[in-house]
Symmetry: C2
Subunit: 421 residues, 2 copies
Amino acid sequence: MADLCNKVEENPMENGDEKEGEGVSRDGSLHGFESLHRLLSASLKPEIFKEVSRLLVGLNCGRVLETVALPESAVTHSSKYDFDVQAFCFHADKELLRQPRVVRVGLIQNSIALPTTAPFLDQKRAIMQKLKPVIDAAGASGVNILCLQEAWMMPFAFCTREKRWCEFAEPIDGESTQFLQDLARKYNMVIVSPILERDVNHGETLWNTAVVIGNHGNIIGKHRKNHIPRVGDFNESTYYMEGNTGHPVFETAYGKIAINICYGRHHPLNWLAFGLNGAEIVFNPSATVGELSEPMWPIEARNAAIVNSYYVGSINRVGTEVFPNPFTSGDGKPQHADFGHFYGSSYFSAPDASCTPSLSRCRDGLLISDMDLNLCRQLKDKWGFRMTARYDMYAELLSKYVKAEFEPQVIIDPLLQKKAL
Amino acid sequence: MADLCNKVEENPMENGDEKEGEGVSRDGSLHGFESLHRLLSASLKPEIFKEVSRLLVGLNCGRVLETVALPESAVTHSSKYDFDVQAFCFHADKELLRQPRVVRVGLIQNSIALPTTAPFLDQKRAIMQKLKPVIDAAGASGVNILCLQEAWMMPFAFCTREKRWCEFAEPIDGESTQFLQDLARKYNMVIVSPILERDVNHGETLWNTAVVIGNHGNIIGKHRKNHIPRVGDFNESTYYMEGNTGHPVFETAYGKIAINICYGRHHPLNWLAFGLNGAEIVFNPSATVGELSEPMWPIEARNAAIVNSYYVGSINRVGTEVFPNPFTSGDGKPQHADFGHFYGSSYFSAPDASCTPSLSRCRDGLLISDMDLNLCRQLKDKWGFRMTARYDMYAELLSKYVKAEFEPQVIIDPLLQKKAL
């Protein structure tokens, strides 16, 4: 595993120009740069770092982001198995009529464990084996709700457009789910497991699906990815189409959660719908690469948390996955065998506009945060976004918009000399 | 004017503890801190600043944010009249079937010009007098479309809840509009003028309105603020209610523009609606203070630009406005006479997730950016957000949601031991 991670870091310096041009040489330009937060922390004077943090991490009113001490075994695990672990705490005001509802939530980001040329079953089981100590660390740390990354049980092979990767698909109650059910039971932990699903009851159809496993190891339900990208290497509709499960919120022992899978984070209505259905925490398990989306990554989830008054947990996988057969990417560039660098950087956002620092851009990691779910309603009461949202106006507008004969509301300057644009 | 600006800067150091507690002492803790970008630029080594900029300003693919040289007269004006001026450039790819559509867009942020105790007409005219050289600098710089801040012709007095400030309201074609119509004509410039409107045709009703003035000095139309806050000192519905003008897009000589006024930036559906109607640039003239919203400020507009594939110009006023009669803010704190510090920080966001650095947190300023409007459609084609948005699903959901009997889609863990939460 260390080999793979190193490979990602070394490649840019050695082979960058031949492989990916600006993208890779850019990644190599700051050797050892793990996260924006750590980079700034190491580079700025403390008083300046404090002010920068206030703006970047969104901490107002003189508050500081607290870290949480984890048990010795979790820390030992992280060092023995070479993954990053960080833990923080979001606070809410004390209320007079409700007790605090503090839950401990975890996210895991990881690279794959074996080369994509290895036998499929070996690949899948090696990822499980790799994840086991990370999940154990989460369990030992008392995590209540844990979410893994998108399609965690396989390489993100959809860029190849080769159908043989479909073999990784599993039914909802398949091997990957069973593996996590045991751990959920053991640690009394809710686990969200995003997999490539094979729907055997509907003619073997594939879906990109999150399975929600209850803290007793039971399967509570599933959610299928609502919005499917057709961008560059993300030709995912080669494999699966738009989900048919609506916007379910899962009421678990530890709170109401929902899952906005990957590309759905670019769709404000998807975020909104989970909010309307009452979500308190929305996970965004993703697989996305630097050149395409890194500047958007710190923006979209935080915005969703702010405007929908809920917590968001954003997860992105780590590393560069190299495939056996080269492929093109619809960008006129030569064929290549990898998708680019999955930049990790998983983080939590809170409804008060604060967020945690991100995990590493290149290492496996476990991010934990305590969050008082009371904060969601407190922010709703404070800002009144629901009350002032005028949903009736937008229901009407969208109903008109979806009709082919929709005409936009445009007021043309009568003095305008029409130009051919 | 310089006095007022200095007052804002000096107050925190001298009277902070008595006046506002954490908020003011916080503002004073980094003397001379004008903007995050400038702070980091001055504090980081160049190679680190470059990488930090890539993430913060959203520049991928090795691109750099270009500055634009302005004419001597604009620079002289900024120094003579003590306002900040900065100019940048957003690029788009060259197309084979369309010429570039580069427009030069400007934003102005400013503090008020006279104490709020001065006669109202003097206050208004002093602001006009103060803005004149800034608008002249925009005109001399060849700005095509200029937007002023929310209710620019008056102090943001709505926190007082005193009705006497209603006197500042003007009809659409009132003195403020006439002042700008002359300048629009002179500089062949579209000007967006957010004012407090008095609707004489509907019984003197007040609205928070943006008047769109065409480049020939003609009034193209108006838009009334759609979402009205009831947050802390922002009890704006004391003065005006939710707008009744829908989501108009104004087709001007230089592109299709719309205005999302202030609190509407917290409403993703408001941003969305302007996008559905075809906006290429959406302005967000605002008045907001540090303690309440500063961590959200760099997030919401950028998110809107990304997910709606248009440019956004965000404007916030500057300084602390002290009112004659103290008022309370519904937060249990003692009465006080000001609203807090309007932190300026106006900036542009582009649909490719990049943005300009912000103007100062404490000085008047003119921010200019060239933007090739072709970038909007290029990003639509690249990301396909419209194509993948499934608006029909959301039209249906919102239509159900607005009914009183709506029941959220919740899947309850059957093993859940119900706790009294």
